[in-house]
Symmetry: C2
């Protein structure tokens, strides 16, 4: 490769190439559209077609790209769009595509197939890839082993540096790997061998002398936990061992990225009662994921309705009381939502442990007292001035303070309780929270109003 080729790609402003391809396609110029799609870096193409609206461009590429071109593109696509591109592709073509992608992507693709189709695709694959896939398929997809790649090289720790380099030089171009582990004569992991160390060592040194200490995980470890290990130790690769201590694969930094991104998505979605899989593409899917939580919300908010109904005599006598129902509920609910969000994310980032929640409860109650009183003062004065009724102002102020305090306390306890019950701490926390703040807020507010009705 010459200099002129290599310094060409300086990424500046992102140009929306996907939109330009789509435009060409809309004007009926498929040839030009394809030409453009082929001329850009597969990573850019992958980014350009990863939006909801690029269905037509994706269809064109899926139909017209060679298996080799498609394989290169798949290496850069998000798993979601990767699945979309492979959905319904004929077994022959799928086998061709799968043969040119990384083995962990190939395994995912094969795992998504069912029954006779999977068998057919696997039967067409090259022997080496078939073995690699078989090894990966044995493990559940959410474990370290289910996520790993088999693309690595094992060398004996008794070999010399010179022998190892000769081995690497002899490798065909397309079978080159970037990770080398040293193993002992009884096949146990002995360390990581970096290319850097091979390069600077003397040819007659033993691999055991240059192998670096390495952190490893067991095959069955949960993938999220394994990703956290990768992050904790600032690693770019993490060997995965079978129960006998043999290296069977390696996790890489892009696995970590995917796990962290989907974890964040999951937390956000669960907080609002949405499924992580939801992608705005199928109305049927959206309804199926969201309706159960809306029904759950309905059931819980009926509790609040029942509390209000208990006070209908009071409301009939002083109808304006109803105007401040949403105010009390919203202040308590929002203060609680702030707490829930901070607590959920702190649990996810490992900053707080379920063991010792008292410091957080104290922090939130102290924060709640101050923000509650500050809100109450403002809303109390507004209510007083607006309706010219000091008692009503005081009543609203007390109810807001109380509900903010209940909100922040529930905001700590709900995610912590879910966490202790081995549930995701975000699991529809917002629905449980608003139930608590609505029910208690209305009870305090209307209860006090009933007691003080003579002065209202």
């Amino acid at each position: 490769m010459t200099t002129d080729d290599t310094d060409a790609v300086i990424v500046e402003e992102p140009v929306d190439l996907g939109a330009r391809i789509a435009e060409l396609l809309e004007t009926g110029d498929e040839t030009k559209a394809l030409e453009l799609a082929r001329s850009i870096h597969p990573a850019d193409l992958a980014a350009s077609i990863s939006t909801l609206e690029q269905t037509a461009v994706r269809d064109l590429i899926r139909r017209e790209f060679s298996s080799n071109e498609l394989g290169k593109l798949l290496d850069f696509l998000d798993p979601h769009y990767r699945d979309l591109m492979l959905d319904g592709v004929a077994p022959d073509r799928l086998a061709e595509i799968v043969s040119v992608v990384e083995d962990d992507i190939a395994t995912d693709a094969v795992q998504d197939l069912t029954g006779p189709e999977a068998a057919k695709v696997v039967s067409i694959l090259p022997d080496e890839l078939r073995e690699s896939i078989h090894r990966l398929v044995d493990y559940p997809p959410d474990t370290a082993a289910g996520r790993m790649t088999g693309r690595l090289k094992l060398v004996s720790d008794g070999a010399t540096v010179g022998e190892t380099i000769a081995l690497l030089r002899a490798e065909p171009e397309d079978q080159r790997v970037s990770i080398i582990y040293a193993i002992t004569p009884d096949a146990q992991l002995a360390g990581l061998v970096t290319f850097r160390a091979l390069l600077t060592a003397r040819p007659n040194q033993l691999i055991s002398e240059i192998a670096e200490e390495v952190v490893s995980v067991e095959a069955g470890m949960d993938q999220e936990e394994a990703a956290r290990v990768l992050k904790q130790y600032n690693l770019t690769a993490l060997p995965v061992l079978d129960p006998e201590g043999r290296v069977i694969g390696t996790l890489t930094a892009d696995d970590l990225l995917q796990v962290l991104e989907s974890e964040a998505t999951e937390d956000m979605f669960l907080l609002a009662g949405v499924d992580e899989e939801e992608n705005l593409e199928s109305v049927r899917q959206s309804v199926r994921y969201r309706l159960p939580w809306l029904y759950a919300n309905l059931l819980t908010v009926l509790l609040a309705a029942w509390v209000v109904s208990m006070f209908d005599d009071t409301l009939a006598r002083v109808a304006i009381l109803a105007a401040f129902l949403p105010v009390v509920a919203a202040q308590g609910g929002n203060a609680g939502l702030q707490t829930v969000t901070v607590v959920v994310r702190s649990i996810a980032l490992g900053r707080i442990a379920a063991r010792n929640i008292m410091p957080i409860v104290r922090h939130e109650l102290a924060t709640g007292v101050i923000t509650g009183l500050a809100s109450a003062l403002a809303v109390g004065i507004i209510a007083w001035v607006w309706l010219d009724n000091a008692v009503l102002g005081g009543l609203v102020a007390v109810a807001v303070t109380g509900d903010v305090l209940i909100g922040v306390a529930a905001g700590v306890l709900i995610p912590m309780l879910l966490h202790t019950m081995k549930q995701d701490p975000a699991l529809s926390a917002s629905i449980w929270l608003t139930t608590v703040t609505d029910v208690f807020g209305f009870f305090i507010y209307l209860g006090l109003a009933t007691l003080l009705i003579e002065w209202l």
Copy 2:
């Protein structure tokens, strides 16, 4: 290093070492606590002390660890806890610590200092590090250049492979770098030189022959955008160029991780009206970050209160109407929150673009019609049976359907509008949303009730 040392670290169950150190400390056994802290891998120690409650252990380590030990620990700590550990350390010691960490961490630490203290620390540093920091400090911290590390090696593309290897072998142990770029005679980036390529090339080959094509970014690019480039191209390092096209540093995968994690945190926090910096450690800070949003929420919910107050005659005649106010508001609000969350996250992941929102609006309206009618049917029947009033049941059902539709439409439009206004799409979207759903929901519900009051 021998085999026996290297295969020792298999990560299995996470043991809470931080808690054990804290226990030892509580029983007054500082010596044992320190001994344990020193005996574990710095990555494990970093993870163990990164919780709210480990303040005492952090203080002990900060006081008793040597500058070298502390430097090793800092490499594995989250930026948040890194800042805590360095806060208030004397200049002499800080200079010692900063000399043993990566240069980007050193730069961050120096940037956090102000005035004479910064000058003092910098003046004690070794020349090479001082230069490196000066280079990094020139750029705003939120740009590619502000995040990069200067730890890389540049080799002329006219040099031979043999010369380059000799150069690498001559490097002292502690100045080894893991990234090498080839540059042209006029100092332009010519490509990436991997150790792998050096190892398998012939000694008399030119660097220009083995340099690989490389993607680069300009120094001033926003750090989040640069991180996205790193991700898009599946890279582990990304060279940063000055306006003249010279390599001045490189971004690494851990920068990417940090950017993605803090982006996710920011979105979650903004949705709920919490500041990204919030960390449950200072009540004063929590109040300062949260109270403004609670006040904003108060102002907006007073609009809803005003809508309810307009119908106080109706409420005085049929007080039970008030019981369904929270039901209408909650169904509309929650349906909208589901939409907001999916839309915000889809924008962050690049799945939807601001240019073309109609398909998403259509998707959400279709979903809203179905979930709205399904919710309305349930709540209508419940209201009818509970209060034995079919008209009230129908009224509630119509209001819920209407409010769910308004919620999902607002759920698309609010984040899209914020995005178009160059704001974060999550910026307190939940507060704007509940205002819309409360105001319209109450208006539909109580407005219809006023029209139908004869039959209630």
